[in-house]
């Protein structure tokens, strides 16, 4: 049985875009070797290469919808297609949702694939995580720990 996979996605140098990676770093302290925990910049090919080998995958990324900053969305990929924006389908913007849907098309989607998307406030270069988003990182890390340890 392979270890569960957690991928924190984003750019730590771009404000709240780094929240996925912050969750990955928190989980490294919480889970140690119990899970394979990676940080990625979000390129679909690399994400696909990692998730195709996993049976359980948690993917954490920042998102922008109309919800308040720090809002946590939990999406179970088994429940249906992820909402793709058309800009996700280009060589330069070939991102997380594309990676998941491509994995699904190729029959390589892990049996359990959960996406946590955290509503961002700002992508200011060089800025730290905003307060609401930083708080949400702690909440998401603890939820993933609980789910993986079966206490959630």
């Amino acid at each position: 049985m392979s270890r569960p996979l957690v991928i924190g996605i984003g750019n730590i140098e771009r404000g709240d875009d780094g929240v996925g990676r912050q969750v990955a770093r928190l989980l490294k302290h919480m889970l140690g070797e119990k899970a394979e925990i990676l940080e990625q910049d979000g390129e679909a090919g690399a994400i696909l290469a990692h998730i195709e080998k996993a049976q359980t995958a948690y993917l954490v990324d920042a998102c922008m919808s109309s919800a308040p900053p720090g809002t946590v969305h939990r999406i179970d990929a088994a429940e249906g297609e992820l909402p793709l924006s058309s800009s996700d389908l280009s060589t330069h913007g070939f991102g997380l949702a594309s990676a998941i849907e491509l994995a699904r098309s190729l029959g390589q989607l892990p049996a359990k694939t959960i996406v946590f998307a955290i509503e961002a406030d700002s992508f200011e270069p060089g800025a730290p995580l905003s307060k609401d988003v930083s708080d949400a990182a702690v909440i998401v890390a603890d939820r993933i720990r609980s789910e993986l340890e079966g206490t959630g």
Partner: protein
């Protein structure tokens, strides 16, 4: 003809933000505009005042798919100022990393963006449900290109190991060796891939282009050569500015390029191929012939085949370089910092990428100019659309839109580089 306006708010599978408008009156195309409204990015301005050593890493940020094109153009141009000319294994390593970029860029475009047009899918994700094996192999091929970038360049997107004079660190034979088996598998897949795409249904069309590409006496062009065309152009890169001109048009934030006194030209894989067929490897030439291509090709819809012939070439060239590789004594060559100007052009996946820089006597950039391939191809894209739409006016609106989008994707346009998304607006009057 009934008055009709066709509007598509978002044309996927191209790079960047722009729009396309066709005006049709009395059954004839009056106007075709590729409208790029991506904001200008001001790279040339913020390079001024920077050290020459920062230029490759800054210009690499122009594009996440073709950063090597910008790193190669800038390093070579600055090296001309500093009196540096690379040869031997350092020159070969530069070809190798460029092969990595050609592979990842061409394979991604051919299979993830362009092939769905021909196979009748609206995305690669939908295509993958029915053609999973092909998509998996293509993704592996692309990954091998990325691995070349990572091994030689330090990372796959925006590499950090390229510097003026060579590299910060050169790989060992042991580090390159694992790429060989992957490249050999990639080469075999590339032969199959050329055959597969050659069977697509291509619209009949032959256009009278002026192809412009680099040509080198001994090799298929990547980093060096003279600028040549099929209509008599044969100049050193130093004559670029006096031969080509950039003009501003109201409907685009990217400058349009023309050959002075002559007009639009076409740069990129079709031009390279048509001007350098004799420099391809025998395997690549044979694959092209078996795909029904002659030594030149004027049908832009067949560009997908040519991209994969070039990807095949790049895999073979990478194998050749790695098999003969001996690490050089030093990772870079030092030059003399001095005032002066230098220019250079290399063959980015999408075509000629031209750079000119002026340095002061401390090596600080006082002037920079960069002409990206998509910027150069804009007038030709508009000419193609003007030509094609006239023959497609009997098609239903949806089919006409699709054909226009496909015609634009023939160019693998990188609007982000040229100054990002395309809207399509067909006004039938």
């Amino acid at each position: 003809m009934a008055r009709k306006t066709i509007k598509v708010d978002y044309l996927a599978r191209v790079e960047g933000e722009g729009a396309f408008k066709v005006v049709v009156r009395d059954g004839a195309v009056k106007q075709a505009e590729l409208r790029i409204f991506e904001p200008p990015r001001f790279y040339e301005a913020f390079l001024r005042g920077r050290s020459f050593m920062e230029v490759p890493d800054i210009t690499a940020r122009i594009c996440g798919i073709c950063p090597i094109a910008y790193m190669m153009g800038s390093t070579h141009a600055i090296e001309k100022v500093l009196g540096i000319k690379l040869d031997g294994q350092l020159r070969e390593l530069r070809r190798l990393i460029y092969c990595g970029e050609w592979i990842e860029s061409h394979v991604l475009h051919a299979f993830m963006l362009h092939a769905p047009d021909f196979l009748g899918y609206d995305s690669a994700i939908a295509m993958a449900r029915d053609h999973g094996d092909l998509v998996k192999k293509a993704l592996d091929f692309k990954k091998t290109g990325n691995e070349i970038m990572t091994t030689v360049g330090g990372r796959e997107i925006h590499p950090i190991n390229v510097r003026v004079g060579g590299f910060y660190r050169v790989p060992s034979r042991r580090e390159l060796a694992p790429l060989l088996d992957k490249l050999k598998a990639a080469r075999d897949f590339a032969v199959e891939a050329v055959r597969v795409v050659s069977k697509f249904d291509f619209p009949d069309c032959e256009r009278d282009y002026e192809f412009v590409a680099l040509r080198h006496p001994n090799e298929y062009p990547l980093n060096e050569g003279r600028l040549v065309s099929n209509k008599g152009l044969d100049i050193p890169i130093e004559d670029y500015d006096e031969t080509f001109e950039e003009t501003h048009v109201e409907h685009s934030t990217a400058l349009h390029s023309h050959i002075r006194g002559r007009g639009a030209y076409f740069t990129g894989p079709m031009a390279r191929y048509s001007l350098n067929f004799d420099k391809l490897t025998p395997t690549a030439q044979q694959a092209a012939r078996e795909a029904g291509l002659g030594p030149t090709c004027n049908n832009p819809f067949r560009s997908i085949v040519i991209r994969l012939v070039e990807a095949l070439y790049a895999a073979e060239e990478a194998i050749r370089i790695i098999e003969a590789y001996e690490p050089p004594d030093r990772p870079f060559v030092e030059g003399s910092v001095r005032a002066g100007s230098g220019c250079h052009a290399t063959e980015a996946p999408r075509g000629i990428c031209y750079h000119r820089y002026t340095l002061d006597d401390t090596g600080t950039v006082t002037f920079a100019r960069i002409a990206a391939p998509t910027s150069q191809n804009q007038p030709t894209i508009e000419n193609d659309l003007t030509s094609f739409v006239g023959g497609w006016l009997d098609l239903p609106d949806k089919e006409l839109q699709h054909r226009c989008e496909q015609a634009i994707r023939n160019y693998d346009p990188c609007i982000s580089c040229s100054t990002h998304f395309l809207k399509l607006d067909v006004d039938r009057g």
